[in-house]
């Protein structure tokens, strides 16, 4: 891993012996940034390859965040972050329709409880005005009128109507799915270990073989600085900032209408209370600077989440919690996104330090990446590019008539497997068959919600592994929660298999 752009020994060896996989553009990282770039680059007559070290698409930060489409008043005007937040937000309007991604424009409220917080939201208000975002100042009464459950101690709030919530994992799946449909390729369980520039292209050594490409896009999230170092680029570094969350039962999902923030501090946007697109309630995140990646939740962190959420919206959250998780923000050594050509290796483009609002900005980042690619290889649009993508049907959302039709076509749609989220066997089959397919339990959970409900898979998980075994023709021992060594079962005791 220590190899920098200059070290060629091993790569040269492999290049001689191995037949490399060839592509025009290699994207490292199938999080929201890599996925958005993949989708956009597949518009063009290019051979695009997306790789990720993980067993599934979805990234790391991209599947453990607040899932908010930020209004754009937070980043300082003039920064790349501010511009791309703006661009991204506007593009999500169009993309959510083209790709049938769940987005709800709920609007957001940033609450202020004291003088210094009022100053803070005043600053945000001015930010917003200067980049032409429709923000509004609300007094105490108006705040309570719009959101009666917030702490009545509230003094004022900043209202941003054009902000909302999104299903970030579904967004990645749809973006990747659309790219695949338009001719892109993907390789998972593929960790990039070394990058080297030669006269006939950039050679990238991965844990699953050698790749030769003209352009590399570094969308490696928290590890984007490692990829930069592989190319000899040492000016930038990233450290993780952990955010812990609690997810609550759908029964209380409608507690708030808007996304409710606290006035921000220097290290983050503070704890928020929000509904998710699935109807659960979400509270968090903490902001803890760490030396190395560590996605553990902690007793202190979860206590902070509860306490801070209660200060915003008083509610007995602990009685309704169904899951807790943590995500790691990629905090760069400069306080802005880096979306630019590498300073050391021609052909490498970095999307690094993509912290919040990276999810919101992702479509904007992708467009910017396309611009940068066009300086290296010609971009010629495919005549038959299809911008649309549809996810397999979700039964519980459909009118009876359509459910009935699906069941008539395949009885598995009538067979309920996950009782909490009402997911049928047919939907699980679809999750395993779709592109990109689910290959593990978490992949099924994130695509169709089975095991994501209030019993967290107690009832359906054993049944899902039976379906996986049948559909994928896998022995039980090979079924994992999320790839790698996350095996769920150690063996089959019946001796008949």
């Amino acid at each position: 891993m220590a190899a920098s752009g200059g070290t060629r020994s091993e790569l040269d060896q492999i290049a001689k012996n191995d037949n490399p996989i060839n592509c025009d553009v290699l994207i490292i990282g199938a999080g929201i940034v890599g996925a958005a770039a993949f989708r956009e680059l597949c518009r063009y007559k290019l051979n695009v390859l997306l790789v990720d070290a993980n067993h599934d698409v979805g990234g790391d930060a991209s599947k453990a965040n607040s899932a908010i489409l930020h209004g754009g008043f937070d980043p300082n005007p003039g920064t790349l972050m501010s511009k791309l937040n703006h661009d991204g937000l506007a593009l999500w309007f169009a993309w959510s329709q083209e790709l049938s991604v769940d987005v709800e424009w709920t609007g957001s409220l940033v609450l202020a409880f004291n003088e210094s917080e009022i100053n803070e939201i005043t600053r945000l208000y001015e930010n917003g005005k200067s980049v032409k975002i429709p923000v509004k100042f609300l007094g105490r009464d108006e705040t309570l009128k719009r959101e009666p459950v917030v702490n009545p101690e509230v003094k004022a709030s900043l209202y941003a109507p054009v902000s909302g919530i999104i299903d970030p994992f579904q967004a990645v799946v749809a973006l990747v799915g659309n790219g695949l449909k338009n001719g892109g390729r993907i390789r998972l369980d593929t960790r990039v270990e070394e990058i080297s520039k030669r006269s006939d292209g950039i050679y990238v050594r991965t844990s699953s073989g050698l790749i030769r490409t003209k352009v590399v896009i570094n969308a490696a999230g928290l590890y984007a600085d490692q990829i930069m170092r592989m190319a000899g680029e040492n000016w930038f570094s990233i450290h993780p900032r952990r955010g812990q969350y609690m997810i609550l039962d759908k029964n209380v999902g409608n507690l708030v209408r808007h996304v409710i923030f606290r006035a921000p501090t220097s290290i983050g946007k503070g704890i928020l209370v929000s509904r998710t697109t699935h109807g659960n309630l979400l509270i968090g995140p903490t902001a803890e600077d760490l030396d190395k990646p560590d996605k553990r939740t902690t007793a202190e962190g979860l206590a902070t989440v509860l306490e801070s959420a209660k200060a915003l919206v008083p509610f007995p959250y602990e009685r309704f919690t169904i899951a807790q998780y943590a995500g790691l923000r990629a905090i760069g050594s400069i306080d802005d996104f880096v979306v630019a050509h590498s300073r050391t290796m021609e052909g490498l483009i970095n999307a690094a330090g993509i912290k919040s609002p990276g999810l919101t900005a992702a479509p904007g980042i992708a467009k910017e990446l396309c611009n940068l690619v066009s300086a290296l290889v010609p971009l010629e649009e495919k005549a038959n590019f299809d911008p649309y993508f549809e996810l397999p049907p979700i039964l519980r959302e459909l009118p009876y008539k359509y459910r009935e039709e699906l069941i008539k076509g395949n009885a598995a749609f009538g067979h309920m497997v996950c009782r909490c989220e009402l997911v049928s066997e047919g939907e699980i089959e679809n999750a395993l068959k779709m592109e990109p397919p689910a290959r593990d339990l978490d992949g099924i959970k994130r695509r169709v919600r089975a095991t994501a409900g209030r019993c967290q898979g107690g009832f359906c998980m054993p049944r899902i592994i039976d379906i996986m075994r049948k559909e994928l023709n896998l022995p039980y021992e090979n079924i994992t929660k999320f790839g790698n060594k996350s095996n769920v079962i150690y063996g089959d005791n019946r001796g008949n298999e």
């Binding site: 609690m246 997810i247 029964n251 996605k295 553990r296 939740t297 902690t298 007793a299 962190g301 979860l302 602990e318 919690t321 169904i322 899951a323 807790q324 998780y325 519980r396 009876y400 459910r403 009935e404 069941i407 008539k408 009885a411 598995a412 009538g414 067979h415 309920m416 009782r419 909490c420 009402l422 049928s424 339990l441 209030r454 019993c455 967290q456 898979g457 107690g458 009832f459 998980m461 054993p462 039976d466 039980y476 994992t480 929660k481 999320f482 790698n484 060594k485 996350s486 095996n487 769920v488 079962i489 150690y490 063996g491 089959d492 005791n493 019946r494």
Partner: protein, 410 residues
């Protein structure tokens, strides 16, 4: 008249049979699984049926006996059929492999059982690896699917399901490193502590909990510490190198369908308030078995569900003609919570205590006046106990009375 029974576990089967025997024209039993029996098919240990069938049976045997009763009674059974919605006019929406059906019933008996509380409900900090199972899920995977789910196991919670699963895992060759229980007393029956833990040298750590899960892909260890007033006692943290964590931290009634009917949910049962016939505030809607409150003995489940099944074909009692009953002090749960007045047979009252008690006396009171009293040599949280009212005691109760159940150590 159509009686629709939702759930084909012991409660649903017993209720369906009783309804049919009491003269219901049509009884429809709707079960979402591929077989009748509820959780019984996975309970391959014995100890079932001593009261209901007068013999010691395993779970699958008990289920089979009930299933025979169902089959012989001319009850229509739908398998692989899940009720996905319940409406106020007693219409049920059912998802089946041949389509969506709408069942318009005269009576609905909900016998939907309970779900286990998962890790997320108790917010154990740490990583989120594979290898964490609830006890009932583990029991299903071991006994029904025949799978090896772990080699080195730690268990949190000492309820009976957990204890039985700990023994089962041991018999399957796993090493159960220990069982932690947050309370200062075990959650399960004394019999199971002896036969499932002590007999197999599995240590029980009372007043302890799991404070952290470690491991990236699969569980690699758990941290366990002694607790006092909700806080870790410093210096008591121990690391257990296990690949599996089993949780036996409580059952919650499945109340989603009854919530759809707008019935209020009692915080201490997690289900709707029922009268002595297990009828809810909505005439013609009954809730039985673990869906009404958590029972430990399947015999009691079957007995009480039969009461509901029989009553369901008779007249419904007017809500105005009833008294209410609530648990007080060391009584945690009481069933029923409403008492219909003016019926001939006096009700049986079931209850559970919050902590183990020695010799004590349980009293049913109204405005400080004692209506009934019963002495017990001991009471345990793990066991549902009962008081059967005598007719003269029942007759004292007036509509609108607010009754209380209290316990006094002697």
């Amino acid at each position: 008249m159509l009686v629709a029974v939702v759930g084909g576990g012991p409660a649903g089967m017993a209720a369906a049979v009783a309804a049919k025997n009491a003269g219901a024209d049509n009884v429809l039993l709707i079960e979402r699984a591929e077989r009748l029996g509820g959780v019984l098919p996975q309970c391959i240990h014995s100890g079932f049926g001593l009261n209901y069938y007068g013999r010691d049976l395993t779970g699958p045997e008990f289920a089979e006996y009930l299933r025979q009763d169902v089959m012989q009674s001319g009850i229509e059974v739908w398998l692989n059929a899940m009720v996905i919605e319940a409406h106020h006019d007693k219409t049920l929406v059912v998802s089946k492999p041949d389509g969506i059906s709408f069942v318009r019933a005269d009576v609905i008996i909900f016998a939907v059982g309970a779900r286990e509380r998962p890790r997320g409900a108790i917010a154990i900090p740490g990583t989120r690896p594979a290898g964490i199972f609830t006890a009932g899920t583990a029991q299903y995977m071991i006994n029904v699917q025949g799978l090896n789910i772990g080699n080195d196991v730690f268990m949190l919670g000492s309820g009976d399901i957990g204890l039985i699963t700990a023994r089962r895992l041991t018999l399957e060759g796993a090493h159960v490193h220990g069982v932690a229980e947050l309370m200062p007393f075990p959650g399960g029956l004394a019999r199971n502590i002896q036969q499932c833990l002590k007999d197999y040298d599995i240590p029980l750590f009372l007043s302890h909990t799991v404070t952290e899960v470690l491991g990236k892909d699969r569980v690699e260890a758990v941290k366990v510490a002694q607790m006092e007033n909700g806080y870790v006692v410093p210096g008591t943290e121990k690391l257990f190198p296990v690949d599996t964590l089993i949780l036996s931290v409580g059952l919650l009634p499945e109340a989603e369908l009854i919530k759809q009917l707008g019935l209020t949910i009692l915080p201490y049962t997690g289900s709707a308030a029922v009268d002595q016939y297990f009828q809810t505030e909505l005439p013609g809607v009954f809730v039985v078995g673990n869906g009404a409150g958590i029972w430990d003995l399947v015999d009691n489940v079957a007995t009480s569900a039969s009461v509901a099944g029989e009553a369901s074909v008779k007249q419904f009692y007017e809500p105005s003609q009833e008294a209410t009953l609530e648990p007080c002090g060391d009584i945690r749960v009481v069933l029923p919570q409403r008492i219909a007045i003016g019926v001939n047979n006096p009700p049986r009252i079931w209850f559970r205590v919050k902590r183990p008690l020695g010799v004590c006396s349980v009293a049913l009171t109204c405005d400080g006046k004692t209506i009934a009293r019963k002495g017990y040599a001991s009471l345990r949280p793990a066991e549902m106990a009962e008081i059967s009212l005598k007719l003269e005691q029942y007759n004292v109760i007036e509509p609108g009375d607010n009754l209380q159940l209290t316990v006094t150590p002697l």
